[in-house]
């Protein structure tokens, strides 16, 4: 549904005006979700800060019009892994426009609070691209606390954490203490709510939102053009897609070494190392291959790949490799429909993504946007292995 005609050449004020117009039109509102896709052409060639401003503005528009079910995954993704104050604040505000508050949302809000509380800073939503130079407005922590208040009894599992935050604030900030108190009051305020529902906060979320990142089976079409793509691994050895990814199932993650968000690439590669250990424990390390492929092959040379993997405990041998495409990175990107965009050769925004490939090298399943559970990935891989 790529109806919103926004080109990468459009200026930021033009973009902001178009988002406002789209949000104001009830027939076109749903198109705002499409604009949150990282691979949307409008993000090509823009810097990371511009993308923060743009995505923030879309989320603020959603906060006015309401977050739909289709847009919810983008909101949860930002809460799960976001570290930018403006984006997290806008996302927290947007979530409050979701029509069905429920207990499964609370762990995401709490995770965002844990990620951002030591990076809290004033943000301004007054006009596009504005930075706050006074503390009279809002901050991501304040927005997240307001969202917990909105969740009310659904966020009961968050109370302990809020108590400790309150103690830490003490007499240092009346404003913040008031926000914490308001959230706690709202959570405690509705004792009449069904306990089985409210206790779900901070435990496993209920069905429907239990595994929002899992994409299930993708159509396993053939893809001859990618077979010949040449990769260079962490030791400088060259290998084609076909040579490495055919013959056995494999698990593939994408990352880049210059990623500044510790909740994304660094964590993804660390979790790949844990997946490798789970495979080893089940005696499957020789039956399933693993690969971490960089988004940034021009910069991520073999030595950088090796050190990055080694620092995160990744097993690296003939079956398990850190890879960079030596050319044709675009074909690779199109094949996997990677959620990434670039300014020149540098990544400006990406999602987190893991793919399970079958023994033919075709995509059998994917986990996207929200961090996956390592055991769940292994279980799904074993299913593919048994096929």
């Amino acid at each position: 549904m790529r109806n919103v005609a926004i080109a990468s050449t459009q200026s930021e004020p033009q973009f902001a005006a178009l988002v406002d117009a789209t949000a104001a039109d009830p027939d076109r509102r749903e198109q705002l979700t499409e604009l949150l896709r990282e691979d949307h052409p409008l993000y090509a060639g823009r810097g990371a800060a511009a993308i923060v401003r743009m995505r923030g503005w879309i989320l603020l528009a959603m906060a006015r019009t309401g977050v739909s079910d289709a847009a919810l995954i983008f909101v949860l993704e930002e809460l799960d892994t976001g570290t930018d104050a403006y984006l997290v604040a806008a996302t927290a505000r947007a979530l409050r426009s979701y029509p069905r508050p429920n207990a499964a949302l609370a762990p995401f809000v709490m995770r965002a609070l844990a990620n951002i509380r030591y990076r809290d800073e004033p943000v301004s939503f007054e006009s596009y691209g504005e930075y706050a130079v006074s503390s009279t407005g809002t901050t991501p922590v304040r927005e997240l606390l307001a969202t917990l208040a909105w969740l009310g009894p659904y966020a009961q599992g968050a109370l302990q954490e809020l108590e400790s935050l309150r103690a830490q604030v003490g007499g240092r900030s009346r404003k913040l203490r008031k926000d914490v108190d308001r959230a706690m009051q709202a959570i405690r305020g509705a004792d009449q709510t069904d306990e089985s529902n409210t206790q779900a906060c901070c435990r496993a979320p209920p069905d429907g939102v239990s595994n929002p990142s899992f994409r299930g089976l993708k159509s396993r079409c053939g893809f001859a053009p990618i077979d010949s793509i040449v990769f260079e691994d962490h030791k400088g050895e060259l290998i084609t897609f076909k040579e490495f990814f055919q013959g056995q199932p494999s698990i593939v993650v994408f990352f880049y070494t210059r990623c500044g968000n510790p909740m994304k690439c660094s964590l993804t590669v660390t979790k790949l190392a844990r997946i490798q250990k789970l495979l080893e424990a089940q005696g499957l390390a020789d039956q399933v291959r693993t690969a971490a492929i960089t988004y940034d092959p021009a910069f991520d040379l073999p030595e950088r790949l090796r050190v990055y993997g080694q620092d995160r405990g990744v097993r690296m041998d003939a079956q398990h490799r850190m890879l960079r495409a030596t050319d044709d990175n675009d074909t690779l990107r199109k094949h996997f429909e990677l959620g990434v965009n670039f300014v020149e050769s540098l990544v400006n925004r990406h999602r987190i993504e893991l793919y399970i490939l079958d023994a033919e090298g075709r995509t059998a399943a994917s986990f996207e946007r929200i961090h996956w559970d390592e055991q769940q990935v292994v279980t799904r891989t074993i299913e593919v292995l048994k096929e």
Partner: protein, 297 residues
């Protein structure tokens, strides 16, 4: 001895006998923020204040007001900034104060005092602050709006690889306002994968400044190590190139080169032999001898 006396004198001004460290720090805040005290007393007190700066809202606001107030003496404002900065290192304790602190830094980033401006922008840039990056980039594109000299702005922008500074740095390399700005622009571009051909060209250019050629060698090693090896070899074979650049090239080959290929490269070994026996300064000759000994010569 003199230092000890100074410390003793300063302690006397802010500490009461048997006062707890926090009580002393609170007293230090009240001295540092009092316009009734001398500049010297206030600066000394600010150094002892960090422990109390974020203990309560009143003290925080008082310290931030000193930093914001253009009528306060510059020395006192700088001392207040240093005190707040020291307090911010205790990330957990400073959490409730961070918002106000960052907002104040953004405000002071455009202060008329150049030293304060530079210090504040430096702190914000280290936080990868979007506001500071925007202001610094605006200044590079429009020097009339610049808050800092271009070389300093480039240095601060280089803290964040995602700061969108490559295009501005390229423009400065093409049309440098000063040699020092050009140097900083090149340092920043050393993380730009597409800049490898530029560094290769600069490294080969004998008319280029030595420092620029050395920066280029280091950048090329980071971006395209095989190109550095190739270029270093060419430089060593070039009889007319400078000894210090040859020595840099030699180090690159010694440390990172393909030992097997280098050991068989007769032309290269002969050229290094010449460097070791020629009239080059002793340290370059030593590098040449080290290289030759690696290959049994």
């Amino acid at each position: 001895m003199a230092t000890k006396r100074k410390v003793a004198k300063r302690s006397k001004s802010t500490k009461k006998p048997n006062a707890s460290p926090k009580a002393s720090a609170r007293r230090a805040v009240s001295i540092a923020t009092s316009s009734q005290r001398t500049v010297k007393e206030r600066v000394a007190a600010a150094a002892e204040a960090p422990l109390a700066v974020c203990e309560n809202e009143k003290d925080l606001q008082a310290m931030l007001n000193v930093l914001r107030n253009k009528d306060e003496p510059a020395k006192v404002r700088l001392a207040a900034l240093q005190s707040l900065q020291a307090a911010s290192f205790s990330v957990l304790a400073f959490e409730p104060c961070r918002g106000e602190y960052i907002a104040t830094l953004r405000k002071v980033a455009e202060d008329p005092d150049p030293e304060l401006r530079q210090r504040v922008l430096g702190l914000l840039a280290r936080e990868k602050d979007g506001f500071a990056q925007k202001k610094l980039l605006e200044g590079l594109r429009n020097p009339g709006k610049a808050l800092l000299p271009p070389e300093k702005a480039l240095q601060l922008l280089s803290y964040d690889v995602h700061a969108e500074a490559y295009s501005a740095a390229r423009d400065i390399v093409k049309k440098p306002p000063s040699e020092i700005a050009r140097r900083e622009a090149l340092r920043l571009l050393a993380a730009d994968a597409s800049a490898a051909p530029l560094f290769e060209k600069l490294l080969r250019d004998k008319n280029e400044l030595r420092e620029i050629r050395q920066i280029s060698a280091s950048a090329l090693h980071a971006l395209k190590p095989e190109k550095l090896q190739e270029t270093a070899r060419k430089i060593l074979l070039d009889k007319s190139d400078y000894d210090d650049i040859k020595a840099t090239s030699l180090t690159a080959l010694t440390q990172f080169g393909d030992d097997e290929a280098l050991g068989k490269d007769k032309a290269l070994l002969k050229s290094v032999d010449r460097l070791s026996a020629g009239e080059a300064p002793a340290k370059y000759k030593q590098s040449a001898r080290r290289f030759l000994s690696k290959y049994g010569r």
